[in-house]
């Protein structure tokens, strides 16, 4: 039958002469290898292996196929180029071509002037004049930034007036330059990361126990007998860890701890593991109950504890204020577990996890019949953005009582987020110690200076010039509806009426002297914070290959080079260059760098972080032995190298895992990161007093956070397709199609009670957003109801009654507006996960017929 042929889709084949470069994915921590082929439009390779740059025969086989979304056409200097951005089948992380949906579609995120979805890419510096952003030249923009900084800091007299909100996720060259500007050149302690308001660890209970947060090698996931996934779901946010290392190469039983019965919960249950469907915010009780059962049964590793866990109270107290407050001797720890609250039957009441499941999980974790316990503990934001000390400390304790660490198939690690490239010259220590205006009072220690919560300093006026780089705090923070009210108020004063620099200075001075604030925003695309920006600076998307060469590491500390391959918008600059212009304008004489490689060479030679978990100290000597610069040398290290990095026989040597037992290389001189090399149990106590003034405990805060009448818990997290605030994915058709709006997963009974069905637009309102700093506030957001009928829920409902789930950072439908201002006072990390609200139907959404509402939790039986 003759018919129109709709087979129009075609992916060109790179010719043998196509330019090839390598890098890792721009997105998640797994850090899969990708290779990039670039060649002029008009040229094409052939379908047999010797006729194309891929060296494959078409049709392509398993894992070899460049899909249409791995291809893009970019434009540079009037010439169009094909770019094929595909998994590197030789890279050790994702050998064979494994990839996630995010990594596999990143070609589509490349800047292309032909793609109207990218029309709003920031291309020139702008300044808000008379209410609107107006294009200016770079010199004017940098001068305006400098004058705002001088006014805010009273010409350096009061450095705290400048606040910086930078990223942890970017490359070491850019974070080094940015933090140098903040802490060294300006001297301000007021620094926040992209995802939290202070320069704090995400896992205080881990690092203060002497454990590293990224301590394992991916092969440990393949070799473990049991894997504990607590508040972490690699299937959702670390696809290749799940699909390749846990599933394909491994055979572990999974203990999945999560309030939702999602894919990985069903996968665990169907494959010899167990799902502990914990009630929201009750993890410390559950984890203590598991530990208690292990100790009660005598399944704990007494030999390990004897040798490797600190048991002298005085030594613990001398370790530091955190350990004095939260460290426990083994005896104190066992006493704490003895509290009847943690008996499995009692814990079952609060956590919703049946006592027999708690016992079964304890047995899977401790492996009492094995000679050695091979359990790998993985945790992420479900624990981190909650009771961050208690949740992370409880995981550290489980690791230590089982002695399951430092050997293949064991360990404790974070399991999510972005790749890491946070590097400094060390100036933050003094800036915080000398100038932070935030202190902590505990039950034992008093008046301890801690890194300042910059969001509160934006609200209270201490920060007068807020420099935001590569993130969107007006949406990424906690209780953001109220935060936006503050920012709006503080930026609404005097405004320049012309681009004359003295007029700009006059307006900024008037505004700041009246308690206002100037906002500089350095970004790729506009976002919510841009609405309040006075100075807008366009950056190059170096993580996608624009500009120079860069370095960062992944979740097994594999450190590598990312080679730039395209220009990006010509008016944008790389972040280090912007920081360099700013620093030099303020008088720094050591920031006149010419390239990202020059900064890398400086770091490798002078600031290699020697001795630490992420030490780069072997790079410079290996480069010298090969008569190369460090950046040139890293170009030759094609598989990357695991930190800490040493030099041996003229080449770099990596370290597969931290906390290896005696006889192997020790990191920071000791097996565990304390003065004696012994780890320290952490106090995980539902009765911990978090407000010494009124005796409020964790348990009391839990009561305040819990949903009231007509409310349900509204928690949040990842969806496999979506990355962070979707700065690329909101512009990428294939991904947008799956989630054209934010979703709210609801149990059908909760939906029916509110006359809601799948595809309805709903509003989530929390009129009691807890604020530990003052009055409670209000917040709301909207989303599309994702409801699966009981008939279709072949493996159960993902959410139970009383719990709703939403994507954490969907543009303009952001649930942080309802999330509490509860931050651990010892280590101000926010409890983003603990939202609640009333849900009501607004009407039928525009996307009701476009979206798929099929169950996302169907796992192989």
């Amino acid at each position: 039958m003759a018919a129109d042929n709709p087979n129009t889709s075609e992916v060109p084949i790179p010719p043998t002469g196509a330019e090839r470069s390598t890098r890792s994915c721009r997105y998640c921590i797994v850090g899969c290898g990708y290779e990039v082929y670039k060649w002029p439009v008009g040229e094409e390779g052939g379908p047999s292996a010797d006729e194309n740059a891929l060296g494959i025969d078409y049709p392509a086989g398993y894992g070899e196929w460049p899909s249409p979304n791995m291809h893009e056409i970019i434009q540079e200097n009037g010439q169009e180029y094909h770019v094929l951005f595909k998994p590197d089948t030789e890279y050790p992380v994702n050998e064979g071509g494994s990839h996630s949906v995010r990594g596999g579609t990143q070609a589509q995120s490349l800047y292309s002037p032909n793609n109207e979805d990218y029309d709003d890419r920031l291309k020139q510096p702008q300044i808000r004049i008379g209410g609107d952003l107006v294009t200016v030249d770079w010199d004017t923009a940098i001068e305006a930034w400098a004058r705002a900084t001088e006014i805010a800091t009273e010409n350096g007299e009061n450095p705290n007036g400048y606040g910086q909100k930078l990223y942890f996720y970017q490359f070491i060259e850019n974070t080094f330059a940015g933090t140098k500007l903040c802490h060294d050149v300006i001297g301000s302690p007021n620094w926040g990361g992209h995802n939290r308001p202070a320069l704090t660890t995400e896992v205080p209970g881990l690092v203060n126990a002497g454990l590293a947060q990224w301590s394992y090698a991916y092969e440990d996931a393949a070799e473990a007998d049991t894997i504990v996934l607590a508040g972490a779901d690699p299937k959702e946010n670390q696809d290749v860890i799940f699909s390749k290392w846990i599933n394909e190469e491994g055979d572990a039983d999974i203990v999945f701890i999560d309030p939702r019965k999602k894919f990985t919960a069903n996968y665990a249950e169907n494959n010899g593991g167990i799902h502990l469907q914990v009630n929201e915010a009750t993890d410390p009780i559950l984890l203590n109950a598991i530990a208690r059962h292990i100790v009660d049964q005598g399944w704990h590793d007494e030999g390990f504890i004897e040798e490797w866990v600190m048991d002298n109270r005085e030594t613990i107290d001398e370790e530091g204020w955190y350990q004095e407050e939260f460290g426990l001797t083994p005896e104190e720890y066992y006493d704490l577990l003895d509290d009847s609250r943690y008996a499995p039957e009692n814990a079952a009441e609060t956590t919703g996890v049946p006592a027999e499941d708690i016992r079964e999980a304890a047995e899977l974790i401790a492996q009492p019949d094995a000679d050695e316990t091979n359990t790998l503990f993985m945790l992420e934001k479900g624990l981190i953005w909650g009771w961050s000390h208690e949740n992370t400390g409880a995981m550290a304790n489980l690791t230590l009582i089982t002695g399951s660490v430092g050997r293949p198939g064991t360990g404790i690690t974070r399991a999510g987020g972005h790749q890491e490239g946070f590097w400094t010259n060390g100036a933050e220590g003094d800036a915080i110690a000398e100038r932070s205006t935030q202190t902590f009072d505990g039950e034992k220690v008093e008046g301890v200076t801690v890194p300042p919560n910059t969001v509160e300093r934006v609200r209270d006026g201490e920060i007068k010039h807020w420099h935001v780089i590569g993130n969107d705090p007006a949406r990424h923070s906690y209780a953001t509806q109220d935060l936006r009210n503050s920012i709006r108020e503080r930026t609404s004063g005097a405004q320049p009426q012309t681009a004359d620099i003295d007029e700009i200075e006059r307006a900024f001075r008037e505004r700041i002297e009246n308690g206002g604030m100037v906002v500089t925003h350095q970004e790729l695309y506009p976002n919510t914070t841009t609405q309040y920006a006075d100075i807008l600076l366009p950056a190059k998307a170096v993580e996608s290959g624009e500009g120079g060469d860069y370095h960062r590491w992944n979740g097994e500390r594999r450190f590598r080079q990312y080679q730039g391959f395209m220009e990006g918008p010509s008016g944008a600059k790389e972040d280090w260059e912007i920081f360099s212009m700013m620093g030099q304008r303020l008088g720094a004489d050591d920031m006149d760098w010419e390239s990202s490689r020059e900064i890398f060479n400086l770091i490798a030679e002078e600031y290699p972080g020697a001795g630490g978990d992420h030490s780069l100290e072997g790079i410079a000597p290996a480069a010298e032995a090969n008569d190369m610069t460090p950046a040139e040398y890293m170009e030759t290290v094609e598989e990357g190298v695991q930190q800490p990095i040493y030099e041996e026989n003229g080449e770099v040597q990596g370290t597969p895992r931290i906390h290896a037992p005696d006889g192997e290389r020790e990191v920071m001189d000791h097996r565990f990161h304390t003065s004696t090399g012994e780890a320290i149990f952490q106090r995980v106590d539902w009765d911990r007093v978090v407000d010494p003034d009124d005796g409020t405990t964790i348990g009391d805060v839990y009561e305040q956070l819990s949903p009231g009448e007509d409310e349900i818990w509204v928690t949040n997290g990842r969806l496999q397709h979506l990355w962070q605030n979707m700065y690329t994915h909101q512009r990428l058709e294939y991904v947008q199609k799956r989630f054209p709006q934010n979703i709210l997963q609801l149990h059908p009974n909760d939906a029916a009670d509110r006359e809601i069905e799948a595809g309805d637009l709903v509003e989530i309102v929390n009129d009691d957003v807890l604020n530990i700093h003052g009055e409670n506030t209000e917040g709301s957001f909207t989303a599309v109801a994702y409801v699966v009928d009981e008939d279709d829920a072949a493996q159960g409902q993902a959410v139970s009654e009383g719990l709703a789930y939403t994507y954490w950072l969907y543009p303009d439908q952001v649930n942080n507006d309802v999330n509490p201002a509860y931050l651990d006072p010892a280590n101000p990390n926010p409890g983003y996960k603990y939202g609640k609200g009333r849900i009501r139907r607004l009407g039928e959404s525009e996307v009701k017929d476009e979206m798929s509402f099929k169950p996302m939790n169907i796992a192989p039986e």
Binding site: D4, S9, V11, W65, G104, M851
Partner: protein
């Protein structure tokens, strides 16, 4: 190309056929409700290519017409919504499952093209041998 007949396609049936090249295997099925691009009086007859668009494993034997899904793929567990053009419900595939365009004439079902690139190919009609049209037309 003739790929089946409405009368033979009962509830829950999954049939396979090659199109447009030799070795390009597709499945034909009748799902629970109406589908995008579905044919037949209820718009519930659909056909899709059988190779998962993630890394090329077959989902042919993993079609559940009553759930209107294909998958989870046995390799990395991608699932596709057969009522919505092969859209990925969850999983790592970077394109939808290619949907075979169908037409019905006198109770016979014909394939008339494919929306979306079949796994492994640069073009659905190149690098292989076309299937001869198996009908008098």
């Amino acid at each position: 190309m003739l790929v089946g007949s409405v009368g033979d396609l009962g509830d829950g049936t999954v049939e396979t056929f090659e199109y447009p090249l030799e070795g390009t295997r597709n499945f034909l099925t009748r799902i629970e409700g109406a589908a995008w691009g579905g044919v037949g009086s209820d718009g519930d007859i659909v056909a899709y290519n059988g190779l998962c668009t993630h890394m090329g494993c077959s989902v042919e034997g993993l079609v559940t017409p009553e759930q209107e899904m294909a998958g989870p793929c046995s390799c990395h567990y991608t699932t596709f919504d057969l009522s919505k053009g092969g859209m990925v419900v969850s999983g790592a595939a970077t394109t939808d499952l290619p949907q075979v365009r169908l037409e019905i004439e006198d109770g016979d079902i014909y394939a008339t093209g494919i929306d979306g690139l079949v796994y492994g190919y640069r073009n659905n009609l190149r690098d292989g041998t076309p299937i001869e049209a198996a009908t008098e037309e």
